[in-house]
């Protein structure tokens, strides 16, 4: 029998089944909804069959793990060799307190660090700036200078851990401070591994910690690409993030599309700055969300890998396999956590984490049950980490690679998400690329519309959130939440006063002058930023000099 005849038989059998047994049951028991659909609006069929994957060519579209187009994973042995990196995003109050939390997490079996900075740090203000009032140490650790960074990593050998830092607009400054710590520890830059988020475009779209306008921001980013390819070869120079785009309300298809469009903009900017694609592309990394729609999420990771590999090869002519591979970190979806019955969040996070692992993530952060209420307590973070460890060590899902490949549903979803994302990317290309699309508010509007639609679904009970719009109960107010001592702001201010007394202020002023001059030209700013950080210039001082030259981004918010 030819494949076509075989498919024809399957189709006939399906039609008979639909007209027979299915109709019979539907007459007596209608289905729960007239139409089932994924978050991206794809209709979910009753069953999937070989008809849905008829177009799929195994060698062309899936291939083997570690082989182009990497649909099944970026490494040939995946988790059979080594589990994903278990990396909990943490940081609050002072460097001293966060250092204690990192040591606790490492003792509990966490395998990488992930630093959360407070908002003043993320926006390039020192703790004593007027706009920092009330924010110091709240959503992350307050870092004003290399002195704080030395405390943050005290007793943590930087050649033994990999460190991810969620820092964007001032990424070059925090990377410089990290390098400063490495130097003090006697660790050569070539032994450093980790990631800076360094993804300014999604800050304009969804996360909000921008400082400078797009053009100088793109320059700082390409400066980092170039500097690291020569000096810190194992550093992931960017983590192109869909996470926050999804948190802001996008669908899964938009998450892929907007993230990869931003990725295209960074690659193009670096090529335009004269870099060779295969020199920097191997160090690009990605960051995705893991949301509630289990199979759609798994398909999302697979589709993103395949699409990025094709873009890098076909659009940019990249040749090195590492330039084609989409390596990514995943965080479970904070926006799906409920303040109601917070222990239910443990189960949500378990499902989301499982999807990320089945989708082949390189590292994973699992949210804590109490994060809709406050920063997580140590107990909550431990449960979140244990969730990953149970998936890794007990469930067996990590023992074979990409176990859902070949599922009619998952393959069909993978192809459908890829096609939807390609359409969005083509639209963004037609607008002149991601930077233009963001300046015109396109991505922001698409995300807001999707977020509003989602909320309406919840309020009309089309979308059930357990404990929120169904299965509610009276419950006592949660106890034992983590609070940050408001004195942290005062402590950081005093530290700054002491720092400004003991450092060589003439040297600081000289290097800052030099940096400001250089910013007016087109030199790579990274060497001077490193020198400034090592002289204990503060983050705010460095960023202010750059603000003088670059100006500040002003958002135009539309409703």
């Amino acid at each position: 029998m030819s494949p076509d005849e075989h498919l024809q038989q399957i189709k006939e059998a399906r039609e008979a089944w639909e007209q027979g047994p299915v109709q019979k049951v539907l007459k007596r028991f209608p289905e729960r909804k007239p139409v089932f659909s994924s978050t991206s609006g794809t209709e979910v069929k009753r069953v999937y069959t070989p008809e849905d994957t008829a177009e799929l060519d195994y060698n062309r579209d899936l291939a083997y793990p570690g082989e182009y187009p990497y649909t099944r994973g970026v490494q040939p042995t995946m988790y059979r060799g080594r589990f994903w990196t278990m990396r909990q995003y943490a940081g609050f109050a002072t460097a001293e307190e966060s250092n204690q939390r990192y040591k606790y997490l490492l003792e509990q079996g966490q395998t990488g660090l992930s630093v959360a900075f407070d908002l003043p740090t993320q926006i390039g203000y020192d703790s004593d700036h007027s706009l920092s009032a009330g924010e110091v140490g709240k959503v992350g650790v307050a870092i004003d200078s290399l002195a704080d960074m030395e405390i943050l990593f005290d007793g943590i050998p930087l050649d033994k851990v990999s460190t991810s830092m969620t820092i964007n607009a001032p990424a070059s400054v925090l990377l410089a401070m990290y390098m400063g710590v490495a130097e003090k520890q006697g660790v050569p830059f070539s032994k450093l591994s980790g990631t800076i988020q360094n993804d300014i475009l999604k800050e304009y779209v969804a996360r909000g910690t921008y400082i400078f306008p797009p053009a100088p921001s793109m320059r700082l980013i390409t400066n980092i690409f170039e500097f690291c390819s020569q000096n810190v070869p194992d550093w992931n120079t960017i983590s192109i993030s869909g996470y926050h785009i999804r948190e802001a309300g996008s669908t899964a298809a938009q998450e892929i599309a907007f993230t990869l469009s931003n990725g295209i903009a960074y690659v193009q900017a670096a090529i335009d700055a004269g870099l060779d694609v295969d020199d920097f592309a191997p160090r690009l990394s990605f960051f995705f969300n893991s949301h509630m729609d289990f199979f759609e999420e798994i398909a999302k990771y697979r589709a993103a890998r395949r699409l990025w590999a094709r873009i890098m090869r076909e659009r940019f002519g990249a040749k090195k396999p590492k330039s084609l591979m989409l390596r990514f970190h995943t965080q479970t979806a904070g926006s799906t956590l409920t303040a109601q019955q917070p222990d239910n969040n443990i189960v949500r996070v378990g499902l989301q984490a499982l999807a990320a692992v089945l989708g082949g993530t390189q590292s994973l952060h699992t949210n804590s049950r109490d994060e809709a209420l406050a920063l997580p307590t140590e107990d909550s973070v431990r449960i979140a980490l244990r969730t990953q460890q149970i998936i890794a060590y007990e469930s067996g899902v990590a023992d074979t690679i990409d176990p859902l490949a070949g599922s009619y549903y998952v393959e069909s979803l993978t192809s459908s998400l890829e096609q939807q994302a390609e359409k969005y990317i083509a639209q963004i290309d037609a607008m002149g690329g991601a930077v233009r699309a963001i300046e015109g508010g396109y991505m922001q509007r698409e995300i807001q519309d999707a977020a509003y639609e989602y909320q309406r679904g919840v309020e009309s009970n089309e979308r059930i959130v357990v404990g929120v719009n169904q299965f509610q109960m009276d419950e006592p107010a949660p106890k034992g939440l983590l609070t940050v001592d408001p004195a942290v702001g005062e402590m950081q201010k005093q530290k700054l006063v002491a720092l400004r007394e003991r450092r060589d202020n003439l040297a600081v002023a000289n290097v800052l002058d030099e940096l400001e001059q250089a910013a007016k030209g087109d030199a790579n700013l990274m060497p001077l930023i490193l020198q400034a950080a090592k002289s204990y210039a503060t983050l705010g001082e460095i960023c202010d000099r750059l603000r003088n030259v670059f100006g500040e981004y002003v958002a135009h918010d539309l409703l």
């Binding site: 908002l119 009330g134 924010e135 709240k138 959503v139 909000g208 809709a372 909320q455 958002a555 918010d557």
Partner: protein
């Protein structure tokens, strides 16, 4: 014709989480109110100035960064200094239950926490504004 309720939805401080603020703003608009959204990173001073310029009936403050205890009462204080106590202030975000009594004592009329239906906010404004 009945005068429409005018609301300023504002993001005080450095917090960038604006999904909730924007969803609330749209829901209020869909409920027939006139809504002005400030965008991110507004100081309490900027918010009060905008509220006076726009002649609003109420200000909705959204903060998910934990800086609410500092920022929300400051807005009420500034309104008082401007003799604009008739502008009602309400808020929302990741705000621990323990902080709510203090915020209310400081003059924030209501605090809406995660999971609140936008219809509850609409009903609240209809009940409390213009009386």
């Amino acid at each position: 014709m009945e005068k429409k309720i005018r609301v300023l939805v504002a993001k005080p401080g450095l917090d960038g989480h604006d999904r909730g603020a924007k969803v609330i703003a749209r829901a209020l608009r869909d409920a027939g109110m006139e809504v002005i959204y400030t965008g991110l990173r507004q100081t309490p001073e900027q918010i009060v100035t905008a509220a006076l310029q726009e002649d609003v009936d109420a200000i909705g403050l959204s903060c998910l960064s934990g800086a609410h205890n500092h920022l929300f009462p400051r807005v009420v204080e500034l309104l008082h200094e401007q003799k604009a106590d008739d502008i009602m202030v309400f808020g929302g975000g990741v705000i621990p239950d323990a902080d709510i009594p203090g915020l209310k004592a400081a003059g924030i009329k209501e605090i809406f926490t995660p999971g609140t239906s936008t219809q509850d906010v609409v009903a609240f404004l209809n009940a409390h504004v213009g009386q």
